[in-house]
């Protein structure tokens, strides 16, 4: 059941009506409804993996309770280890078993021996990369005594399986989301309306921008030998927008949907393509994942408060693990490595926190220097995404090599009116994102004091553009992670 599917269009109102009209007087019943709805939502993907998420939730619930009652440091460590082993074990098995088997066999081949790896026909459970990290954050926070463990099994299971953010994030911290299941949610009109606006913006980004960019990006990447360097660069730019609009669009829909039920999820993207340097980009891109790695891996390793070599080590570990989290392919590891190489100089020169506020804050027009910084960072990001998108390391290098050939200065090979329409829409999109960059999402237009006709006009324009410009349903990119 995709967010942009007809089934979800029926599912959401039914759950909403039951939530606010039938079960609104009883918090526990509301949580039970969310739990059942979430399992139904997840079961529509693949009911076989419901057992997995239930088991994972149960382990962490049990670990939380035991951690509360255990003072012995060794036993507490063992309990935490249990949670880590179970969660990462599931993730490792379903996501990385075949990768490690093939890599192991490749190493043997390098030494002149050929072995046939044991490969398993494993289906990746949807959302496993997200909910395992979410439950791990709970166990770790309880262990570190940052959070009181819950005895409310319904609230906890609902927190783990909460359907708006179950399959593709944001990866919520237990400290933020879990307490929201304890207290009664009251319907807030302004919050719900804003939630609907955010859902609409998310759908627009996904269906109009991301899916249209995908049709060209896929064509160009899949037939890269047929195209000039300039076309390949255009393909990389389309992919850059595809992945941003796809993933941030999903996050917008997730956050907007949560608001309809009275929940506040954390922002996951904060205008990353207006970043002035790579460090700022990583503070604005997939915030929930980057902060997770920062808090649960980078800082425990020593972070940047250690010697030079350790700092370098920590940066490489973080980015490589982050890349690896995305998928079992050397391209993701290489992508992480490239990002580490780009981030490291900024960190070592202590320039990683010089751009902490939004660019041109309070102004409409950035300075020339800011424009230069944004364009530079944007194009670095475009080129780095090539490693993420390529199907193999070799393909990535060949693609890059072809971009930086003489044909980079030739005209684009695709002469279709649709591509110019798409570029025009992208320009409008960038302008909208720019002028509304200081808001949670661009459709937060209450402060603009627009009359109802203009507001309605904006909403209907977006709805009509979804129907006129939408492409046949493509799944969200991050579902594969």
């Amino acid at each position: 059941m995709f967010f942009n599917s007809i089934e979800f269009a029926f599912f959401l109102p039914i759950v909403f009506i039951l939530y606010w009209f039938v079960f609104n007087n009883n918090l526990r019943h509301q949580n039970i409804l969310l739990l059942i709805s979430s399992y139904f939502f997840y079961g529509c993907w693949d009911y076989r993996f419901l057992a997995l998420i239930i088991f994972s939730s149960f382990i962490d619930f049990f670990v939380g309770i035991r951690l509360l009652n255990t003072k012995d440091k060794k036993k507490r460590k063992l309990l935490l280890l249990l949670s880590i082993v179970v969660n990462l074990g599931f993730l490792g098995f379903f996501k990385y078993f075949n990768f490690f088997a093939d890599s192991f066999a490749d190493v043997f081949t390098l030494f002149g021996n050929h072995i046939e790896p044991t490969r398993l026909n494993i289906i990746l459970p949807v959302g496993i990369s997200f909910y395992t990290f979410q439950t791990l954050s709970y166990s770790i926070d309880v262990y570190n005594k940052k959070l009181q463990p819950t005895r409310d099994i319904i609230a906890f299971f609902s927190f783990v399986s909460f359907f708006p953010q179950l399959v593709a994030g944001p990866i919520e911290r237990a400290t933020n989301l879990l307490p929201q299941f304890y207290k009664r949610r009251n319907f807030e009109y302004a919050k719900a309306v804003d939630g609907m606006r955010q859902i609409l913006w998310g759908l627009f980004k996904k269906i109009v921008i991301a899916d249209n960019c995908a049709s060209y990006a896929d064509r160009i990447f899949d037939n890269s030998f047929d195209y000039s360097g300039s076309t390949l660069l255009l393909g990389a730019i389309f992919f850059t927008f595809q992945i941003y609009c796809d993933f941030s669009g999903y996050s917008d829909i997730a956050i907007g949907t949560s608001r309809l039920f009275g929940f506040n999820l954390r922002r996951n993207f904060n205008s990353p393509y207006f970043s002035r340097d790579i460090a700022e980009f990583w503070r604005r891109w997939h915030i929930s994942l980057s902060t997770w790695f920062r808090d649960y891996l980078y800082i425990p390793l020593g972070g940047s408060k250690c010697g030079l070599l350790m700092k370098i080590r920590n940066v490489f570990i973080i980015f490589i693990v982050s890349g690896f989290w995305h998928g079992a392919n050397w391209t993701f590891i290489l992508w992480g490595l490239v990002n580490a190489c780009l981030f490291l100089p900024v960190l070592l020169l202590k320039r990683n926190r010089i751009n902490t506020n939004i660019v041109a804050e309070g102004k409409n027009i950035p300075s020339v220097y800011e424009i230069f910084q944004m364009i530079k960072t944007f194009f670095i990001t475009v080129l780095v995404w090539v490693f993420f998108r390529a199907t193999s390391v070799n393909d990535a290098f060949v693609f890059m090599n072809r971009i930086f050939s003489k044909s980079l200065f030739s005209s684009i090979d695709i002469h279709e009116i649709k591509i110019y329409i798409l570029l025009f829409i992208l320009s409008i999109f960038i302008l909208v994102e720019w002028f509304q960059r200081e808001k949670e999402h661009p459709l937060q237009i209450c402060d603009l004091e627009l009359n109802i006709f203009i507001r309605s006009g904006i909403y209907y324009t977006l709805i009509l553009s979804i129907f006129f410009l939408g492409v046949s349903s493509q799944s969200f990119i991050y579902f594969q992670f």
């Binding site: 007809i6 089934e7 029926f10 606010w20 319907f187 009109y189 719900a192 309306v193 609907m196 269906i207 309605s456 909403y459 209907y460 709805i463 979804i466 129907f467 006129f468 410009l469 939408g470 492409v471 046949s472 349903s473």
Partner: protein, 328 residues
């Protein structure tokens, strides 16, 4: 809460009304599916030869040239499953039906039910041809709505184009023949052959399901003394050379066996017929308009020859050939 519900409803009502209007529009856009359904029901009593199958026969056989009061009931990517269901649903409208022509090809034998990127076409049969089958369950929204069954966006745009530009989807002649494959198409036959053969490959040599459906068609025809002509339509070598030869051999062999076992069945294999040069092809496995005329003339002669030889059997009780390869 009430204010929120009222606001949502006020925004949704126009959208729902547009949806309902569009649903009505897309259901009534003239298209080859609804056209053929209408012809079968209103003029079926004059049809003596019915052509079934996929794009190979849809574009490849021109009933006006074939004669024999034929009608082309084929559609793009139509599987044997739908060939059987359409025949079963509509045979009652064709009391004078004497012959059925059905393509047996690598594509038709490999086609899996309810799969592939053209899977959305099942909704066309459901809504335009009243061919309701179990592959669209009643809990599927597509069972009830054509607009929501396939790509909403594509259907929406199609509806708007029809309303504003009067652009319909009727792409066949009055005898049901697909006319889109114009001659002079600049095709890279080598690339097209590789792509088409890859598209038609399901990586399985088990086509029993489709053979069972074919047997159902044959039995249905037998009950009414209708002849069945299984044909493998002409293709370029750029297509046929890329097919799995073992599987292809199995398919052809099976066809010959079926024709030998059933009195009312004939098999004609034109796959590598060298009378069809590249000028007759639109792409590696589809004939163009000129090729369709040429092929229809040849097919007519071969069908008549086979029917005559069958007639002689009834008089002379001699055995006769029931399968032809390249017209021989």
């Amino acid at each position: 809460m009430n204010k929120f519900i009222r606001r949502i409803i006020s925004y949704l009502v126009p959208i729902v009304l547009v949806f309902i209007g569009m649903e009505f529009v897309v259901r009534n856009i003239p298209n080859s599916y609804s056209y053929k359904e209408n012809i079968i029901k209103t003029k079926g009593d004059s049809i003596e030869t019915l052509i079934l199958g996929s794009s190979h026969t849809y574009y490849g056989i021109n009933p006006a040239v074939l004669g024999m009061n034929s009608f082309n009931f084929a559609n793009v990517s139509q599987s044997i499953y739908y060939d059987y269901n359409l025949l079963a649903n509509n045979i009652k409208y064709c009391p004078t039906l004497k012959n059925i022509i059905i393509p047996i090809s690598y594509f038709s034998m490999s086609k899996k039910l309810n799969s592939g990127e053209e899977n959305w076409r099942k909704y066309n049969y459901h809504h335009y041809m009243d061919c309701k089958t179990k592959i669209i369950p009643k809990y599927n929204i597509g069972y009830y709505s054509l607009l929501l069954s396939k790509s909403v966006f594509n259907e929406f745009r199609t509806g708007i184009k029809y309303l504003i530009l009067d652009k319909d989807k009727l792409a066949c002649s009055k005898y049901g023949w697909g006319t889109a494959c114009k001659e002079g198409n600049d095709c890279d036959f080598v690339k097209s052959g590789k792509l088409a053969s890859k598209r038609h490959e399901n990586n399985s040599s088990d086509f029993n399901r489709n053979i069972n459906l074919l047997n159902d068609i044959i039995n249905l025809a037998k009950e009414r003394n209708i002849n069945v002509f299984m044909i493998t339509t002409p293709t370029t070598k750029y297509y046929s050379d890329n097919l799995n030869p073992d599987k292809l051999y199995k398919i052809i062999n099976k066809c010959i066996n079926i024709s030998n076992v059933n009195d009312n069945v004939f098999y004609i294999n034109y796959l590598t017929d060298n009378r069809f040069s590249l000028k007759y092809f639109y792409d590696s496995d589809h004939l163009n308009n000129v090729g369709a005329v040429f092929f229809s003339e040849i097919l007519k002669k071969d069908v008549v020859r086979l029917l005559l030889s069958k007639k002689r059997l009834k008089i002379n009780k001699f055995s006769y050939k029931r399968s032809l390869v390249n017209g021989k």
